[in-house]
């Protein structure tokens, strides 16, 4: 299915309501730890539910809803599910 040569893109650009595979973790270790506690880890799947007023992204991680600021979402990479 994957015909595009570009595999990874930022979470901020991910279309709504599709599932993607997580590639990286935030560079800041404190933020990374918090994200990982909420279930964010490379290889796991994520779905962007909604863009909230104020720019934050509401994502679905293992069935839980997590809000991530727009700025942080731009640093997070995902790819199409293999």
């Amino acid at each position: 299915m994957t015909t595009s040569p570009i595999t990874g893109f930022s979470l901020a650009k991910a279309p709504l309501n599709s599932t993607f595979t997580i590639i990286n973790v935030p560079t800041d270790p404190v933020v990374a730890h918090r994200m990982m506690t909420l279930g964010w880890r490379p290889g796991a799947q994520v779905r962007v539910m909604k863009k909230a007023s104020g720019g934050a992204k509401i994502i679905d991680l293992n069935g839980s809803r997590v809000a991530v600021s727009g700025a942080l979402a731009r640093t997070l990479c995902v790819e199409a599910v293999a």
Partner: protein
């Protein structure tokens, strides 16, 4: 922690031994777990009323210690067969890192302290198992006796989450028990698991996968595997409903509108609804209670003496002031609990995150600042919604700059007296100054003291909406209210009594407690301090003594002016206004309006009131409260002098 790891012999206490006089109990158990998992509820239910609360010796970390007495299965119900466990309720921690003093303390107590506790009881939240297990993964890396208690099972089930404790126990390698501390369910199983673990040989530590270099990655990997096999999750109706609601709550235009509506409601409730209750209690203490006390002192022949003054103007007035805050605080705490428990607060944080980000504060800080414009005291308490201690501290430092309604009454009075038809504009300008002070204060503190504080990007869990439970709301409210009354009570009552005392000590002759304010030590001190305010244009002792009264309670300033000038009728400002106008005219060398504006700015920015200080002591301790006082008085002094020196050129 003295009696440690002595193996099985401590489990069969003989009736004749008396070492429970020497040590706290037959075993020592430390309770650990992430914040809000029901750790303290479990601790309280196990230990009952035998709890001591207080700072751990040599630290500022608050720790509850208690004795859990019970009869293990198979023993008689005789007093001497009772098994006594010294329980230590350690502060909430997600991990054993040194990120916060609380986590560091937990680390010291459980990992570094030798000998450590006989057993570590880890409390985990079934609804948020993933984030509860990190602590378990760290603790399992060394050999130690531990039992995992799973709470919030009912909440998890409502959200479609099933935790399989048997599997969890097998993969974790330690006993796992479901408990419901509120309903005292699962206590027998927990007791049994604890005794079995105490008697069993030390469990082997878990083997870390050395192939994964990063410790953290390895632990999260381990947790992910555990979750895979020990937990099943079905998309629940609650989650689907919640997603639907979020479509409106987080929508671009509607979301902020709903948010403003909620904030307006909180503000209205903490001002207009609480006000009549406050007035009622205030009148009750100023009227019947005081009259009763006067009648009593006359009955015993002490009428008109200092005893009467102490009782009425010191003790009753102080206790009355404390109690007038009780309905307001109760209301604030109920609203906080409702907002937190319903799930709305997390959404509000998402909506306001970008705006508050300017001050380096998360979206949650918006709520306490809004409440501050009603009253600073509940606003300080509302900073509890912030999870980071530093952000809480910064917010606590900024709240006193929000113009509360008690300050509003004084602004309205001064505005009417000095600005006539421009009174409204003058009052409005004070609100702008207030917002400006919050923003400048926030930026200044971030640029200096909190420079290291990185603005943390928003990452917040949005729990499904739920109808708040009465029980949880009330228990959260009661715990917080009791804490406020305990800490703030003493401070407020002592401060009011001190002001009375200073006003009772004569300096120009006369009898203690039976003099005019002008002849008291209080006036004498105000006169001594007054020249400091000369550069701001209001260096008269009458004005300065009003500021000191304002330190105790802002709304008392008008009546204090009345007292100073001997005016009984305060309903009409004309007579009092004439006196104040004269005082400002003289102290400012004719630049009356410039001095009044300077005074209003000073009045806005300086230390709010003793109740706010008491609330600050409760939240951030004496040291930071002291720093706040210096910050506020410093800001007030500089701002008022600058305002007067500039304005006197034009006004």
């Amino acid at each position: 922690m003295s009696k440690q790891n002595q193996g099985a012999q401590i489990l069969t206490p003989s009736c004749h031994q008396t070492y429970d006089n020497v040590v706290d109990g037959d075993a020592v158990i430390a309770i650990v777990g992430a914040p809000n998992v029901g750790k303290s509820t479990l601790f309280n239910e196990l230990t009952g009323s035998r709890v001591t609360m207080g700072n751990w010796p040599g630290t500022t970390v608050e720790v509850a210690r208690g004795l859990w007495r019970h009869h293990p299965r198979g023993t008689s119900k005789k007093e001497c067969d009772q098994f006594k466990v010294a329980m230590v309720d350690l502060p909430g921690a997600y991990s054993l890192s040194s990120a916060s003093p609380d986590e560091e303390f937990t680390r010291t107590m459980v990992v570094e302290e030798i000998p450590g506790p006989d057993l570590t009881l880890v409390v985990v939240d079934a609804a948020h198992l993933a984030r509860s297990l990190y602590l378990v993964s760290e603790l399992r890396e060394e050999s130690r006796r531990m039992v995992v208690a799973v709470t919030m099972v009912d909440v998890a089930e409502r959200h479609g989450i099933q935790v399989h404790t048997k599997t969890l126990s097998k993969v974790l390698g330690v006993p796992v028990v479901k408990v419901d501390p509120r309903r005292r369910k699962g206590f027998d199983e927990l007791t049994e698991a604890i005794h079995e673990a105490l008697e069993a040989p030390m469990p082997e530590p878990r083997i870390r996968m050395l192939a994964i270099e990063e410790e953290e990655d390895e632990r999260f990997g381990w947790i992910a595997e555990i979750l895979d096999c020990s937990m099943t999750e079905t998309s629940s109706d609650i989650q689907r409903f919640s997603d639907k609601v979020d479509r409106f709550i987080l929508a671009p235009f509607l979301g902020p509108l709903i948010f403003l509506g909620v904030m307006w409601l909180v503000f209205q409730l903490t001002t207009t609804v609480a006000a009549p209750l406050q007035d009622f209690l205030g009148d009750l203490f100023a009227g019947p209670v005081s009259e009763g006390a006067i009648w009593l002192t006359e009955l015993v022949g002490l009428g008109g003496t200092w005893v009467e003054g102490f009782l009425v103007n010191g003790l009753i007035s102080g206790v009355g002031m404390l109690l007038t805050f009780a309905p307001l605080m109760t209301l604030m705490f109920i609203l906080l609990a409702l907002l937190e428990d319903s799930g709305y607060l997390a959404r509000a944080a998402v909506l306001t995150d970008r705006m508050m980000g300017v001050l380096g504060l998360p979206g949650q800080a918006f709520l306490p600042l809004v409440v501050g414009f009603g009253c600073n005291v509940p606003a300080i308490a509302a900073t509890r919604v912030l999870s980071s201690p530093r952000q809480r501290l910064l917010t606590v430092m900024l709240i006193p700059f929000t113009a509360c309604t008690a300050r509003l009454t004084v602004f309205v009075m001064l505005g009417t007296v000095f600005f006539g038809k421009w009174a409204g504009t003058a009052v409005f300008a004070m609100y702008l100054v207030s917002i400006l002070l919050v923003v400048i204060g926030g930026l200044a503190l971030r640029g200096t003291l909190w420079r290291a504080m990185a603005s943390e990007p928003l990452v917040i869990d949005l729990p499904p909406y739920q109808v708040p439970t009465l029980r949880l709301t009330w228990s959260m409210t009661w715990v917080r209210l009791r804490g406020f009354l305990e800490t703030a009570g003493g401070i407020i009552v002592v401060a009011v009594i001190l002001v009375w005392l200073f006003q009772a000590i004569p300096v120009n002759g006369g009898t203690f407690g039976q003099i005019e304010v002008a002849d008291s030590l209080y006036a004498w001190l105000a006169m001594g301090v007054a020249p400091i305010f000369a550069p701001a244009g209001f260096g008269s002792w009458e004005t300065v003594s009003a500021l000191v009264v304002g330190f105790v309670a802002k709304e008392a300033v008008i009546s204090s002016w009345g007292q100073t000038y001997g005016i009984a009728n305060l309903e009409d400002f004309t007579s009092l206004g004439d006196h104040i106008q004269t005082a400002f005219y003289i102290s400012s060398g004719g630049h009356t309006l410039a001095a009044v504006v300077a005074f209003m700015i000073y009045f806005l920015a300086y230390t709010p009131c003793v109740a706010t200080l008491a609330a600050q002591v409760r939240e951030v301790g004496w040291k930071w409260t002291g720093f706040g006082i210096i910050l506020q008085i410093g800001t007030a002094t500089v701002a008022s002098i600058v305002a007067f020196q500039i304005l006197r050129l034009v006004l």
